[in-house]
């Protein structure tokens, strides 16, 4: 470290009151602090009549959820099997996370905005709900709908509205809430639900399978290129509840879809549980791009409140030359535990994982991916960029497995960690298993602090430190941001900027 430079800057910062002080300033007024404590602009609570079932979980609750959704018998059986299996499981402890024991009997497993009687036209959607999504930048009214993007809006446990449904239906694309899909497309659901993430997979997957309330279902028929981005927006509003959504995407032969997921929640002092499952099936030569901008409430600067985001996401590249690409920008949640994965079964199938995870205050993230190479000539790429600030803990955890049959498999992994401050942690836990001698598996990881030389260079060119940090971090994350669809990339970049600058959006 250039001591001289720091000393000078300390003097300067006194002389120019109001100018941000440099990152390495130890006086406590530094940008790092602001970075660490920036505000959350989605923290409002909407005043919406909500039906919440009593807290607690037992078979009757599972039956109640199923009944409320008017589900067929087979769906209830699915839930009960999962519930019974869950009873015998314990929460996983291997994450690099300090997580208090969750009292699963203290959570309400179903909360839904009260629906008024009458025809299901959009005019009948509670105006307060529309306002809520408006404020989140997701207009649901016909005239305001985003062109080029179909949205399924999920509030607490239920889907509120799916836009552009009819336009999609013309191409044979099914995009609806999973509850509707269970009712309207039972054969597809029976065939695919749980086929990639079994309820036995892990503790939270079992829990989700028992109590999931809503989510989205997508089916892209053979040879169809989905003409617009599909998007689900998840919002937790009610307090004392958990959200357990379920997403199922099936891309048939030669099809393509780009799917986006966004999420926010109000600021509350309590921790709320979000345990979702995303399953994706990709058939021959089909391609699915799945992008997430995760901005659940992260808790306050002292680590009070925030969402526990415990998610199982997995895709099966079943078809030859199929491709699944995960892109995630993770800035929210008090605790994140998720590993979007690819099972590369088809010959020549491709899996990708691009991630930016920014943690600050007392946030903890243990996230990464699994690439399971089963088929010949399968390829995977992992690029993970972690940014830690404040008192946060940010871990990359990933598995690359090449099974004996995966002749010619190839993996490249790059995971970098950037540290903004000396009280945070950045960790890397890659697991690499190679069982085929024709495979080439490469893993590179670096950890460093933000470059003082770069900041100084920016300062010299007149860019204040705060802005310089933003610039540098954005540059650092660019490789991943570039993978996001355009509209989302702008949003995500803003989000990073907000998180970094501590400005109120």
């Amino acid at each position: 470290m250039n001591k001289e430079y720091l000393d000078n800057k300390n003097v300067d910062s006194k002389a120019n009151a109001g100018c941000p002080s440099p990152v390495a300033d130890s006086s406590g007024t530094s940008v790092i602090k602001e970075v660490a404590e920036g505000d959350y602009k989605y923290g409002f609570v909407s005043d919406i009549d909500t039906e919440i079932i009593p807290v607690g979980l037992n078979e009757d609750v599972v039956r109640l959820i199923s009944a409320k959704k008017g589900e067929p018998e087979w769906m209830l059986d699915f839930r009960l099997k999962a519930y019974r299996h869950w009873l015998g499981m314990v929460p996983p402890k291997w994450g690099h996370l300090r997580m208090p024991d969750i009292d699963f009997q203290a959570i309400s497993y179903y909360a839904a905005p009260v629906k008024k009687e009458g025809p299901k036209s959009l005019d009948e959607v509670d105006p307060e709900l529309l306002k809520t999504f408006d404020r989140l930048g997701i207009p649901l009214q016909e005239q305001k709908q985003l062109s080029g993007m179909a949205v399924d809006a999920v509030m607490d446990s239920v889907s509120v509205k799916t836009t552009h449904k009819e336009a999609l239906a013309e191409k044979g694309i099914i995009f609806c809430s999973i509850s509707e899909a269970i009712r309207d497309y039972p054969d597809l659901i029976k065939k695919y639900l749980g086929s990639v993430v079994s309820y036995k997979d892990n503790f939270y997957a079992a829990l989700n399978s028992a109590v999931f309330s809503d989510g989205s279902f997508v089916y892209i028929p053979k040879g169809v290129r989905c003409p617009m981005e599909l998007s689900t927006y998840f919002r937790i509003n009610a307090s004392g509840t958990g959200q357990f959504e379920r997403t199922l995407i099936v891309a048939d032969d030669d099809s393509y879809v780009s799917y986006l997921e966004g999420c926010t929640a109000p600021m509350r002092d309590e921790n709320q549980l979000h345990a979702a499952i995303v399953e994706i099936i990709v058939e021959d030569r089909a391609e699915v791009k799945y992008s997430t901008v995760q901005n659940w409430y992260a808790g306050d600067k002292d680590g009070r409140g925030g969402i526990y985001n415990l998610v199982t996401k997995r895709g099966l590249c079943r078809g030859d030359y199929s491709k699944l690409s995960w892109t995630q920008v993770e800035t929210g949640s008090a605790i994140t535990w998720k590993y979007p994965s690819c099972v590369l079964m088809g010959e020549g199938s491709v899996g990708e994982f691009y991630s930016v995870a920014l943690t600050r205050n007392h946030q903890q993230a243990d996230t990464g991916t699994k690439m399971i190479h089963l088929g010949r000539n399968t390829r995977s790429t992992i690029v993970s960029k972690g940014i830690s600030a404040g008192f946060s803990e940010n871990s990359y955890r990933g598995l690359v497995k090449v099974t004996p049959a995966a002749e010619g498999a190839r993996n490249y992994t790059q995971c970098d960690s950037l540290l903004l401050g000396s009280d945070c942690g950045a960790h890397t836990f890659p697991y690499i298993d190679v069982m085929n001698p024709t495979a080439i598996v490469e893993h590179e990881a670096t950890t460093s602090k933000i470059s003082e030389d770069q900041i100084f260079y920016c300062n010299q060119r007149g860019i204040p430190t705060e802005e310089a940090v933003g610039l540098i971090v954005n540059g650092y994350a660019k490789e991943v941001m570039n993978k996001l669809p355009m509209e989302f990339a702008v949003e995500a970049q803003k989000l990073l900027q907000i998180s970094l600058e501590g400005s109120v959006g």
Binding site: M1, W94, H96, P404, S417, L419, L420, G421, S422, D423, C424, G425, A426, H427, T428, F429, P430, Y431, I432, D433, V434, M435, N436, P437, T438, A439, I440, V441, E442, H443, E444, A445, T446, T447, S448, K449, I450
Partner: protein
């Protein structure tokens, strides 16, 4: 409680007096702690435990091994057997037969001033305060294997270098297994390098005879004082019926240098742990390892380098070439503690799978709690470079020979980390022979070493 643990706790219960009577007070004082810790652990690590993805220590310990509690002399003709002498490096030689320390006559005659190399039990009797100060102070008793070793170990090697003593000659320890029945040897080495001292230690593991299963339970503790430099070289050339559970614990004071190089050439099942605590500032650590596996060999190295002070530097290089049905595992952790500033820590793991039956598991990890660091790790698993292979063949070098040359070349940078030149040459030779398929025993060795 696992059967493996049970049998040793029973053995200890039955022979507590006998074990102690053939050892020394300082060692005896810690036995009950060991027994207690072992009982608490309940089992050794099994495959799938975090950090033990591919190696079951419990399985290593579960056969019905004997322990030579009553110190029955098992004579071995050391002179006619393995010497593993390094030409041009007249070492100070000592032999450990199973778990019994046997000094060579040259060692006794030529011991330089400031150096002590002797039986650990003897040291514990003659200088109990010194031994007590260090014994079992770095090793982590909560690990079941360390607990077992501490409970049962009766002798070992004690090496002490006085303040400011800089040794020119290397100390060489030759570990020999020699037993007609299945045997567990609890082995222990305690190295204390006082302030500003320098020492190089070369340890070679051998197994004589082919059949009886044997298990080495080895705990090595190294204390590098302020400004001290310790080089620790460890070459394993045992056989398929040998299991080795080796754990090295080192503690480094300010400005010290520790250099560890481990080569596994032939073995059965090996699990080596390296726990290095960089406690003092400006200390540097280098860990290099090579593993050459064929047939059903299994080689697992695990390292934890913990930087607790400013300006620490560490560099790790671990390379594996696996052929046949050999399996390899590497797990390495670089930990930079909160408040340890300006640390530079690097780790590199490169592996070649040369056959369809070979398997490699790698898990390099970074645990960083401070921002003023430069840390990186890299791991690759692949094959020999096809372009290089073709280039060599166009120059007329037959494919098999080109492959062998490339494999040897792959190990060159590990060998180059050795600072003792004669040892470097010797190891290069041993590696060449290993890849050529020649078993490197003294009987077949043409290096004509003295002794």
């Amino acid at each position: 409680m696992s059967n493996a643990v049970d049998q040793y706790l029973n053995l200890y219960g039955d022979y507590r007096e006998a074990i102690g009577s053939h050892s020394a007070g300082v060692l005896n004082a810690r036995r009950d702690d060991g027994a207690e810790a072992l009982a608490r652990a309940g089992r050794f690590h099994v495959r799938g435990d975090e950090g033990y993805e591919k190696t079951s220590v419990d399985e290593m310990f579960s056969p019905d091994f004997g322990v030579n509690v009553n110190r029955v002399n098992m004579p071995v003709d050391v002179g006619a057997s393995f010497r593993c002498g390094v030409p041009n490096l007249s070492t100070l030689l000592a032999v450990v037969v199973n778990d019994r320390f046997v000094p060579s006559s040259t060692l006794i005659k030529n011991l330089p001033a400031g150096l002590t190399v002797c039986s650990l039990a003897e040291a514990a009797r003659e200088m109990p305060r010194l031994v007590e100060k260090y014994y079992a102070k770095a090793a982590c008793m909560s690990d079941a294997s360390v607990a077992l070793n501490t409970m049962l170990v009766q002798d070992g090697v004690f090496i002490h270098v006085a303040r400011g003593t800089r040794l020119e000659k290397a100390v060489q320890l030759v570990d020999i297994f020699h037993s007609s029945t299945p045997l567990l040897a609890p082995r222990r080495v305690l190295v204390v390098a006082e302030e500003d001292s320098h020492i190089s230690i070369l340890k070679c593991d051998h197994t004589q005879g082919e059949d009886a299963a044997c298990l080495s339970s080895e705990v090595i503790e190294i204390f590098a004082g302020r400004g001290a430099r310790v080089e620790w070289y460890d070459i394993e050339e045992s056989n398929a019926s040998t299991s080795r559970r080796s754990q090295l614990f080192a503690r480094q004071e300010e400005g010290s240098e520790l250099h560890i190089c481990v080569a596994t050439l032939t073995n059965g099942v090996t699990r080596n742990d390296f726990h290095i605590d960089v406690a003092g500032g400006h200390a540097s650590t280098r860990l290099s390892a090579m593993a050459i596996g064929s047939d059903r060999q299994h080689i697992d190295n695990s390292s934890v380098i913990r930087h607790a002070a400013d300006y620490g530097s560490s560099d790790q290089l671990l390379k594996y070439v696996l052929d046949g049905n050999a399996t390899g595992a590497f797990e390495g952790v670089i930990e930079v503690c909160h408040g340890a500033r300006f640390v530079e820590a690097y780790q590199s793991n490169r592996n070649i799978l040369a056959s369809s039956g070979a398997r490699m598991h790698a898990k390099p990890q970074l645990l960083i709690y401070n921002d003023d660091v430069k840390c990186s790790h890299g791991a690759t698993t692949g094959q020999l470079d096809n372009n290089a292979l073709f280039y060599m063949r166009t120059r007329g070098i037959p494919e098999a020979e080109a492959r062998r040359m490339l494999m040897q070349a792959f190990m060159v940078d590990v060998i180059d980390t050795i600072s003792l030149e004669p040892l470097r040459d010797r190891l290069r030779h041993m590696v060449d022979r290993r890849f050529a398929g020649v078993k490197a025993g003294c009987a077949e060795c043409g290096s004509g070493c003295p002794d």
